[in-house]
Amino acid sequence: MSTFDVNAVRQDFPILGRRLAGDVPLVYLDSANTSQKPQQVIDAIADHYALHNANVARAMHQLGAEASEAFESGRSKVAAFIGSKRTDEVVFTKNASEALNLVARVLGDAREIEGRGPIGPGDEIVISQMEHHSNIVPWPLLCERTGATLRWFEVTDDGRLDLDSIELSERTRVVAVTWVSNMLGTINPVAEIVRRAKSVGALTVIDGSQSVPQMPVNVSELGADFVAFTGHKMVGPTGIGVLWGRYELLASLPPFLGGGEMIETVAMERSTFAAPPARFEAGTPPIAQAVGLGAAVDYLSSLGMENVAAHEQQVTAYALGRLAEVPGLDIIGPREAIERGGAISFTLGEVHPHDVSQLLDSQGVAVRAGHHCAKPLHQRFGVQSTTRASFYLYTTEAEIDALVEALNHTRKYFGV
């Protein structure tokens, strides 16, 4: 635990040495948007292309065997990283958004879901007001196709899910919520949500896009049916996401996209489909990206996810303290580092978030401004947009100081 050394970690990330316009050093506080990549991941991808590149599954020659081995070992590493009991419960998608859409599509298409029949009129799909657009948009579309009704958990003034705002019932078929909010930073009581959903026989879909990168995750202990996350937020490459699903459930669901390796046999008019995960991976998969993601989870495991989480916690606590000193700055979401991840959204007096982020950028501080793909949640708090600073395993307290200094400069610039 004591071996986590943020300065040593930073040496692995070449981009952190960049200098920006005006020769100021980069202060990257936008990791909830996408994380930076260590040299180990960059090299793993480059080496794969340079020495082992071939298509997988289909190719029986030596390069094909090497590429298949590298690709499938990416899958095993991810499975081990999230505590999946089976490797074949890990489906590779292009990002978390595809993973969530995949679930919504195939649940809508299924004629039978674990003895409860298809989803239809009278059934309810439950999400929350705290979701990223990727875990909102697919669900009303499912409701439109099936006749089911959309309901959602509301959010309290201090940025927590209000689990009593609606009641789950036997009509509830799916409960889809985020583990950690990408806007508020809130860590939701997903175990409790899974328990409640199970007690009424509903399936659970957990959006782990912000939790898997930040904290130790064990999908088997969680007991959810599906967990979705994305490579680029966990020091891995773009172009790859993961849908973890309970095997028997995956095996009972219809395919999503057709083609390539997802078939068992094809005739012009009718095909039969392969077992999971292949059933849900049409076409050439993200091969080099799976290799890169494997290297990413190796990297995270070598640091230790407890250490990553502890560091995140510490930096977040420090940031919450320092930001409270900035006059006119208003944090939306939990103000204490309790059940809270490293994303802090705030407003700064009347200065529009775009203008805040522009001024911060001129000082080398990279944050995000806008609705962070969580428009309903912004509406909930009566703001059109916010500025968000988000932290990760390479973030230092000195960078938080730089943020605060740049915020004070911004206040002066706009005279607030």
Partner: protein
Amino acid sequence: MNAANVDALYQEIILDHYKNPQGEGLRDDFDTEVHHVNPTCGDEITLRVDLDGDIVKDVSYAAEGCSISQASASVMYELVHGKTVAQAFAILDEFHAMMQSKGQIEPNEDVLEDAIAFAGVAKFPARVKCALLGWMAWKDATSAALSLKEQEQS
């Protein structure tokens, strides 16, 4: 000039328009109304156009957004209201060209007046959409108003 030099972006004129927006508010006389959103950041504008024959009699709007998008709507109001539709479209074209130029085009001050202050914005690609939001809304609303009048006449 580079990203560190925000003064190029936040010209005095822009900050003035931001603090004292011209022509703001939604007025009751209008032919068409549109609502535009910048999907990336959520900036919004509701805009109404009132044509009197060939003349842009009024442009009224309610906008929520950053200094650049707000100031741009204000400058746009000043430039197009009272002009003929043809003149106003010519100004729009000039403004649009300047914004897309990445700072390579010398802006025409005779046509653009206060709007030349936005020349600096063209060097900040992420902000170009902010500066264009009001103008694109005006273009849409005016085109709709024109086809409306055409239909009425036929």
